[in-house]
């Protein structure tokens, strides 16, 4: 280390001692699956004890390697950054500035829950790769560390760790509502239609049905598993208000608790699927800057609220954005129907000193909100067909990467140019506010 240690009195802490076991256990499960699969094959079949012993040996080695790496991994939280040192052969020393912290998530995988372990993931602006998730900590440590990091990232109370349960619950999504909302989702309806069609075919001719079975399965499987996954991840969705922002807790098997600090939201989307309209339900999604630290597979989901009555949804959106939203009232000219025949009725824009609101949608109505203070750049585009109709689209780009919000499509050409001017003026003012 070349720099002098600014806070030498802080000790390096270790991850939870059960970490190597849990990691090794995961490895063992994967191996067991492979071995199990192999033993079903007839052609090459080593005796069961050979493959079993091999699996055990490899797992033992993995646990040993895990132990060594656990010994060499340490973390500590200073006033301004989280420091993580790790690596056996190649040492890696990570410094995550807390001022850049966008969100923190505590993930508890099923096995980890049994053992009382949790993983801490960080979201930082512009980090393309994994931001050294801390896996695994004891649950209480994880929650305490998160609370301390969030408190420091907000610049409040540098000492005295915030009690982890200082949260005021705002919304709990009842399981019944979640199930109903999923049953009324577009993909469920689609699945139902496919299955009914299949059954009718089967009733008429078994041969055709058999031939079509593979195709049907390949359609049903991804849609079905997506629905099941949504149920598992969004089960027991709870939104609570804490000192520095909102906290979302959710999940049936793996539970996740993520925090959205105030003023870090890059965009909000309110979706109203067609079949939910009778119940007046909406789904609210948010986007923060940066990638999910875990990267790869399960990045942080965008849901702020999977399903809720409209009033509640808009209130929560307003809460997360700071102020009430302006209504989107400026419609597109009638001639836009030649360019967007299905959605032109829903295309509208609303603007005030803080937010840009756009609506769109063919079947579901989508309302997108971009805080003007978060706008990175503004673009105007006009394709050949649009120009013939004297239309143009205006895009306000923010740093969020999961939701594509901020597109006001098919406005009148002159109005679009004015909108660009107005947006850049207002965004400049909002940035300085």
């Amino acid at each position: 280390m070349t720099q002098a240690d600014p806070q030498p009195e802080l000790v390096w802490e270790r991850l939870h001692p059960l970490t190597p076991l849990l990691r090794g256990g995961k490895f063992f499960l994967a191996l067991a699956a492979i071995v199990g699969q192999q033993s079903f094959r007839q052609d090459v079949r080593p005796p069961a004890y050979v493959s079993g012993l091999t699996a055990l040996l490899i797992t033992g080695l993995a646990v040993l390697a895990g132990y060594v790496s656990w010994r060499r991994t340490g973390y500590r939280l200073t006033d301004s950054e989280l420091q993580v040192d790790s690596g056996v052969l190649t040492r890696r020393s990570r410094r995550v500035p807390l001022a850049r912290l966008q969100a923190v998530e505590v993930v508890r995988p099923v096995i980890g829950r049994v053992m009382g372990l949790a993983e801490l993931r960080l979201e930082v602006v512009g980090s393309g790769s994994a931001e050294a998730p801390l896996a695994y900590l004891s649950e209480s440590d994880a929650h305490e560390l998160r609370a301390r990091m969030l408190a420091r990232s907000q610049g409040t109370s540098s000492e005295s760790p915030v009690a982890p349960d200082e949260a005021r619950v705002l919304v709990v999504v009842p399981p019944g509502t979640l199930v109903t909302s999923l049953l009324l989702a577009g993909s469920t309806v689609f699945l139902g239609v496919v299955l009914v069609a299949f059954l009718i075919t089967a009733a008429i001719s078994t041969d055709i049905a058999m031939a079509a079975a593979v195709g049907v399965i390949s359609v049903v499987l991804p849609f079905g598993s997506a629905l099941v996954k949504r149920f598992l991840t969004e089960y027991g969705f709870t939104v609570a208000e804490t000192e520095g922002g909102l906290r979302l807790t959710r999940g049936l098997l793996d539970t996740r608790a993520s925090s959205i600090p105030d003023g870090r939201v890059q965009g909000v989307r309110i979706i109203e699927p067609w079949l939910w309209r009778r119940r007046d339900w909406v789904r609210v999604e948010v986007d923060v800057a940066g990638y999910a630290a875990g990267q790869g597979e399960q990045t942080t989901s965008t849901a702020l609220l999977p399903v809720a009555p409209r009033a509640l949804g808009t209130a929560l959106a307003a809460r997360v954005l700071g102020t009430a939203l302006p209504p989107a009232i400026a419609r597109v000219p009638d001639r836009a129907r030649w360019r967007a025949p299905l959605s032109h009725r829903r295309l509208a824009v609303g603007l005030d000193a803080r937010h840009l609101v756009t609506t769109s949608g063919v079947v579901a109505t989508t309302t997108d909100v971009v805080p003007l203070a978060k706008i990175q750049s503004i673009r105007l585009t006009a394709g050949p067909w649009q120009r013939r109709l004297r239309l143009a689209s205006v895009h306000a780009d923010s740093a969020g990467r999961r939701l594509k919000v901020g597109s006001a499509r098919h406005r009148d050409q002159d109005e679009a140019v004015l909108l660009v001017e107005e947006l850049s003026e207002l965004a400049r003012a909002a940035r300085r506010a």
């Binding site: 512009g126 870090r264 990175q376 673009r379 105007l380 740093a399 850049s424 400049r428």
Partner: protein, 156 residues
Amino acid sequence: MTELTWLRPDRGLLRLRRLECLLYLGLPLTGVSAVIAYVAGSAAGVGAALLTVGLVGLALTAVERRFHAWGYAEREDDLLVRRGALVRRLSVVPYGRMQYVDVTAGPLDRRLGLARVTLHTAAAASDASIPGLLAAEATRLRDRLAALGEARAAGL
């Protein structure tokens, strides 16, 4: 937008684009026509040659129109970049939002003394990039943007 002065890429960009057109479109098509003439007789060869000339001509006009569509203007607080002949685009990037500036020049660009200046913001969709600047102008623009960006930097 009254006293706005639009600056344009150097004329060399047009030369560069024409060169690329001939190199990457004209040359292969000529080769293909020659093969066609050899295999399928002179009538087919003449047809292919005519088609080649037509396509290259079309590409050259497109290149010309796109060159004339390029423009950029430095305002007090933001940079404007306009481009595109078929799909017209205008980008407004506030200096304070700039994360970094790139100056890039490929082998052909360097031959002609040209460079491209690209502005990067935290948003993936921002696409403010100006090709075909003379090296001196590219350096000037880069330094000016970097200085302005530093002066007006804002948090995310």
